[in-house]
């Protein structure tokens, strides 16, 4: 490989490594005491219906943090909601800016907390990725790539 191209390749590899809080799908992103991992979403059914995304947040610090906002390029409104099951009657309620307790793992998974994505600008396609940018009150901002599974998936794609 010519010297110039090798230098450019090396430079781009170094700069990618220096970008904070960005990772490829399936990887763990760390910011402050927070690790975000296993981000995935279900393929949307059209763009008029809300879609759902899930992830796992580990707070290895002793103090609680709070998830303030979630942003994504494909939705103008991403909020954390919770599925609440009372004797087989289910309701989905806004969860607000959820607390991320210290020394604990907060999991967003089907049947519980989930990121609800409204006003989709494009459909979520199975096999693609969805970028989610999470802003935590104390830790700061982290971006993850959520892998998109099928429309009825209950777990991340293999």
């Amino acid at each position: 490989m010519p010297l110039l191209r090798r230098a450019c390749l090396a430079a781009s590899l170094v700069s990618f490594a220096l970008v904070p809080g960005l990772a490829r799908a399936g990887e763990t992103v760390r910011v402050g005491d927070i690790s975000v991992t296993s981000a995935w979403a279900r393929a949307s059914i059209g763009t008029a219906r809300p879609a759902a995304a899930y992830l796992t947040i580990v707070n290895s610090g002793t103090e609680a943090d709070r998830l303030l906002t979630i942003e994504t390029p494909v939705s103008s409104r991403a909020e954390v909601h919770e599925t609440v099951n009372e004797g087989d009657v289910v309701r989905m309620v806004p969860a607000g800016q959820i607390e991320i307790p210290g020394g604990a793992t907060t999991t967003l998974a089907p049947g519980g907390l989930h990121v609800m994505l409204m006003d989709l600008s494009e459909p979520l396609e199975r096999g693609s990725e969805l970028q989610l940018t999470l802003t935590f009150e104390r830790a700061g901002t982290a971006s993850v790539e959520a892998e998109i599974a099928g429309p009825g998936a209950t777990s991340p794609p293999e």
Binding site: A43, R49, P50, A51, D88, R91, M92, H114, T154
Partner: protein
Amino acid sequence: MVVGVAGAKVIWDRTQAADVLEIQESAIAAEFSLVNGSGQPVTDLTYRGSWLLVFFGYTNCPDVCPTTLNDISIAMDMLGEAADKVQPLFITIDPERDMPEAMAEYVTFFGDRIIGLSGTPEQIRDTAESFRVFYEKTAPVEGEVEVPGEYLMSHTAATYVISPDGEFVVPFQYGTFPEEMAKRLQVFL
């Protein structure tokens, strides 16, 4: 008719919501008069001769309905040939938005075995009463801006097993794994 009125009183008395869900076999008539994806009228009689798996939900449901319909679809696959004796039905409790064509399109995302049914608000209400199914629009949380046409709903999320004679047999609780559904159905098939 008496059962219907009594059922209605119990369903709409929200403070007793927990009691409603102790489903009594005799109380679920499993009767309905609805419209299928092609806009044709269907009733419970249309499906006599098949075992039915009846699930109520709505297409704008981001979490519960896609996963349950998927679980039903997987359970059907697990039944193998015996699946031909079973007809899953997805009935909307959101007749305002879930038109028959929308239901028909939605169920295709969960395989080719589920039939989606809709109807007028009155038909949906009568069907829900017959199955002792609770449903309502979720009121906006304080401080939340209410966008017209954009609402979530609360609803009973059990899956009802109906015999080929149209009799209610057993409910599968929300969250029942496909393996469990298939195993229990196989006993009947």
